[in-house]
Each structure stands twice: as structure tokens, then as C-alpha cells.
Symmetry: C2
């Protein structure tokens, strides 16, 4: 198993210190009517209210914070079509250094605009992993920027861990903590944080059935690629990496896969009862409670809401009149 | 001018004591990207996260709290098509007493269901103020329930005042506080609270141009009825009352009227930047900042977001693809 000083108990505590005052201390929200409906006490750590609208800002700020100053001055680089792109762009701006973001041509307009708005340079490429990686390599060779992977990087994982560290202080007495899983940066950070700071709390993960590579990876004991994933939860399409997989294997109790129907139901419930705008990926943990109510009955459950970056034009499609 | 012990400085402080632990201490949210866009520091007191999804729960709980116990036992009654209906229904349930809610036949399904879900008895009537009032009188004669007006009642006004009392503690240094105005319960309570507890902060009100009866009332010096109001902000259709009008006349700096276009723009910004679900009425104060930017330039402005009860099926209409 790979090891890193960022992923020790001390490393996580230091990450939290680095991020104090740099990231928002997001609130924890709940709804009595929702709790009655699902038969559990559900507490939402609202990372949709985080800067750039997603937990990803934590990892990006932590990565910038721990870069060697000379290296940092040359700027940072990543490939991402999603929230990590915005997060790294804003984090670089906070540090006054350049950022290059490799994005697939078909990335949603709202995400391209947000990245550009944070002052990063966007480099478009074909919408394949291969094209992203080769384009990123070209940019790196040209600029000398530090490559910051969206999730498979201990600096990122340690940053994401800070959301659950806040959660357990804001809401003592949780009996389960659950996060969604895509590439596993948030999940592995959450699991590690609980391992060190709240070992009595089991960690569950929630994953769309249509993108169940993490579930299959745990079943088979080796990283299974995400091939042709089909889900509305577009933040969870990626495969685990060699940093995130072993941490998840070791510290996560179980990955629960959920139907698209329950993701949409959960999304609607969060808009309706919590009055929060979340992206479909952020509703996946609540979908797991809807899908497996017996696992959570009567329990106090903390969920990490990953983000709230949605194209508002999609809402009409998701919440069609009945 | 009418006077009431509930509307003294001590009355407001007592209201706050009554509501401690009974209503949610809602968070105050902000967005740097929104602030840059509008050129002011805007702090949103998020009453959309209040129980029943609106500030109205404060007034209803306060009214129940101060009712004589014998009177309270006979139950409460109101006519409302909106958030006050849900608020009174839940407040009555918290006190274990019956509630009768007179609602127009054409009230949105989601609101009827919510009221019924809180265990109140719904009495439907024609969608006119006259029909509401006569139906309410019939129910009162039959049941002996205490009539609790949605806004023109000092017990209600004192309850609504507590939102801004929290706001100025949560966000010190505000230079302006602004609330939307419909019947004026929230606005008069807010203005009175600031008068007693933060007299240095001027109070602005925001009102749709298509329902500008409060604006016209201040201009003319007497209550002008709201006739045929036309606005998406369906929580702001009512006219001022003899309790709310003089308080607003005395303590509100100015009423700013806003276009429907800016209400929709503000609504979209709140969904997109704050990641909050708000009802159109709740976006009206931000619309006033968009409409009169010079009044707010560089200022620290606290806005009361009135509520978040929207029919999700409407979102497609409001956020049409461009």
C-alpha cells in the first residue's frame, strides 16, 4: 500500500489547519419531515455551499498549500470536466499563480464559464481519457506546471477528509457516515478521517448502479475500470485510482449501489425538503437510504453532499409536472 | 397608532425567548461570486431553511405561545393560501391543539398537501378575500378557535421580528437590512426590531412593481389596496393592514419596487450562486439590489429570504434553456 505523510493522522490534522479560514465551514442541515419519511435522522454536510459549489475546493486548496513555493509559482494543471476544474482554478487564483485546465470539448457551458471566470486557462481536448492525459502532458511540458490529479493524489485526499472532520464536530453522535464514490477522493478521505478520529463510526459509500465500478472493484479485489457509465450522477463516472482504492478497501464498510429512480427521488426530496440545490451526485447517498432503508432505520446518519453545480436548464427535465 | 405590549422593545425580546429552541436558528449565507457581480456584500438570512420552509413559522409559534392556555386549547384558525397556513398548522400540532385553515380552492397542490400533512383541517372556499373572511367567520363561530391573521396581528409581527434579531448577531456590521413586503408582517417586524436593537441600520423594503400597493400606500399616506396584482412573487399579493402600515410608515426608509425581469434574474442567481431553493418572493430583495445598484454599492447588506416553498414543476418554466 502506498503511503504518504499527508495521509497520517497528523497529516489530516495539518490539512485541517491549512484550510481554516480558507474554505467555508459549511452548515449541517436536516429536515424533520424528511426524517419521518425515511425513518432515520439524516444530517447533510452541505458542501454544495462550499466555495465553487463543491467539496473539491478543499482538496485543491490543500494541494496548493503544501506545494513547494517555487513549484507553486510555476502554476498548476489538471484535466477535469467537473468541479475539480473550478476548484483548482479558484485555489490557484487565491495563491496568485496560473492554472491550466484541460477540459473535454463537450463539457457543460456552465462549467467552462465558471473555470474561465476564475481566471484559469482552458485547454480543450477530445472527450476521452486518453486525449485528456496526452493534452495535459503537453501543457505540463510547455509550462512546468504541477499536475494535480482530481482525486488520485494524497494531497487531494487529505483535503477532502476535512469535510467529515468538521461534520463529526458539528453533529456529535453520528452512527453512520456516508459519502458518494466516483474516483474515490472524497470517500477515501472521509474513511481515513473517521478511521483516525471517529473509529466507532462505520463508513458507507453510495454509488449509482449504472456506474458501479467501485462496487465491482471491492468485490473483485482489484481496480475495475468504469466503462460506459450510464447515470444522471455525472460527478461519479470515473474509476478508482491506486491511492484511493486501497484506502477504500481497508476502511469502507460497504458500497451500496442505487437505482437512477432513487437518485431522482432523493434529488427531489433534497430540493423540496432541505431547500438546497444539489447536483445529482450529491443526492446519491440519500438515494442509498431510500434503496436500503433497513440498514439505516432509526439511525443517526451523516451524509456528505458533494456539490451543487447544476445546469439550471436541467431542472425542468428532472422535476417534470406529474 | 395602535399599540401592543408585544411590539415594545421588551415584547420583542420576550418573543425571542419564547422561540428559542422552538424555531430553527437559520444560517446566514453569502457568495463571493455573487458579491462581485452585484458590487455589494450581501448576506442572506436563510428562512427558506426554517421549519415549514418560511419565516412564517416564527409568527405562528409566537402567537400560539402567548395565547391564554384555555383559549389555545380550543385551537386556532386562519385564512391563507400560503406559508402562514403551513406555519399555523405545524405550530398548532407542536402545541397539541387543533387548527382550521381556510384556503382558496385554487391554492397550489403542494401547499394543500403540506397543510394536511401537518394535521390541520382544510376548509376550501372561493378564491376571493371576501369568501375567505366569511368562511373563516363561520368556522370560528362553530369551533371557538382563535383567529390568527397571517400578518396584521402584533403577536405575528413580534414573531417575525426575531429573524432580523438573529441576523444582526450572526452578521455584525450590516449597513442596510432589507425584507420583502406583502402584507407587511415580516417588514414591520424587521423594521421595529432594528428600531429598538440596531437603530443605526436603515431598513429598505422590496416589492414587485406588479403588486406595488405598499409603495403606493407610503406615497399617499394611507393604506392602498392591492388590486389585481400581477407578479411571479405569489407571497406578496396582499395589502397592508392597520397594524403593519403605521409601523412601516414610521420605521422603513424606503420601498423599492422591482421588475419581474429582475425578480427572475435574482431567483436564478440565488439558485446558481447560493445553491438555495427559494420562492420568487424570497428573491425580491436581491432583485432590488439588481434594480438599484447605486443604492447598495460597496455596502454590507442583510436580506431576509422569506421562504423556499416552490412547486418544483415550476422550475422548468423559470429556468428555461437559453
Amino acid at each position: 500500500m502506498l503511503s504518504s505523510p499527508y495521509l497520517t493522522r497528523e497529516g489530516l490534522a495539518t490539512a485541517r489547519e491549512h484550510l481554516k479560514g480558507q474554505v467555508k465551514l459549511t452548515p449541517v442541515l436536516s429536515s424533520q419531515s424528511l426524517n419521518q419519511l425515511v425513518g432515520a435522522q439524516v444530517y447533510f454536510k452541505a458542501e454544495n455551499f462550499q466555495k465553487v459549489g463543491a467539496f473539491k475546493f478543499r482538496g485543491a486548496m490543500h494541494a496548493l498549500a503544501v506545494l513547494d513555493p517555487e513549484e507553486r509559482a510555476r502554476g498548476v494543471l489538471t484535466h477535469s470536466s467537473g468541479n475539480h476544474a473550478q476548484a483548482l482554478a479558484l485555489a490557484a487564483r487565491q495563491y496568485g499563480v496560473p492554472a491550466w485546465i484541460v477540459m473535454p470539448k463537450n463539457a457543460p457551458r456552465v462549467k467552462r464559464e465558471a473555470v474561465a471566470g476564475y481566471g484559469a486557462e482552458i485547454v480543450l481536448c477530445e472527450p476521452t481519457l486518453k486525449a485528456r492525459e496526452s493534452t495535459a502532458a503537453e501543457v505540463q511540458a510547455r509550462t512546468g506546471a504541477a499536475f494535480i490529479h482530481p482525486y488520485n493524489d494524497p494531497r487531494i485526499i487529505a483535503g477532502q477528509a476535512t469535510a467529515s472532520l468538521e461534520l463529526i464536530e458539528q453533529q456529535p453522535g453520528l452512527e453512520i457516515v456516508m459519502a458518494p464514490v466516483g474516483g474515490g477522493g472524497l470517500l477515501s478521505g472521509t474513511a481515513l478521517a473517521m478511521h483516525y478520529f471517529a473509529p466507532q463510526i462505520p463508513i458507507f459509500a453510495a454509488e449509482p448502479q449504472g456506474a458501479d465500478d467501485a462496487f465491482r472493484s471491492l468485490q473483485s479485489g482489484s481496480i475495475q475500470p468504469s466503462t460506459d457509465p450510464q447515470t444522471i450522477a455525472d460527478g461519479l463516472l470515473t474509476s478508482l485510482g491506486d491511492w484511493t482504492f486501497p484506502l477504500i478497501q481497508k476502511h469502507v464498510e460497504q458500497i451500496l449501489t442505487v437505482s437512477e429512480e432513487n437518485i431522482l427521488k432523493a434529488l427531489k426530496l433534497i430540493f423540496e425538503r432541505l431547500k438546497m440545490v444539489v447536483e445529482p451526485s450529491g443526492a446519491v447517498p440519500l438515494a442509498a437510504i431510500l434503496e436500503y432503508p433497513e440498514r439505516f432505520a432509526g439511525k443517526s446518519v451523516g451524509l456528505i453532499v458533494s456539490g451543487g453545480n447544476v445546469d439550471l436548464a436541467k431542472l425542468g427535465e428532472w422535476f417534470k409536472p406529474e
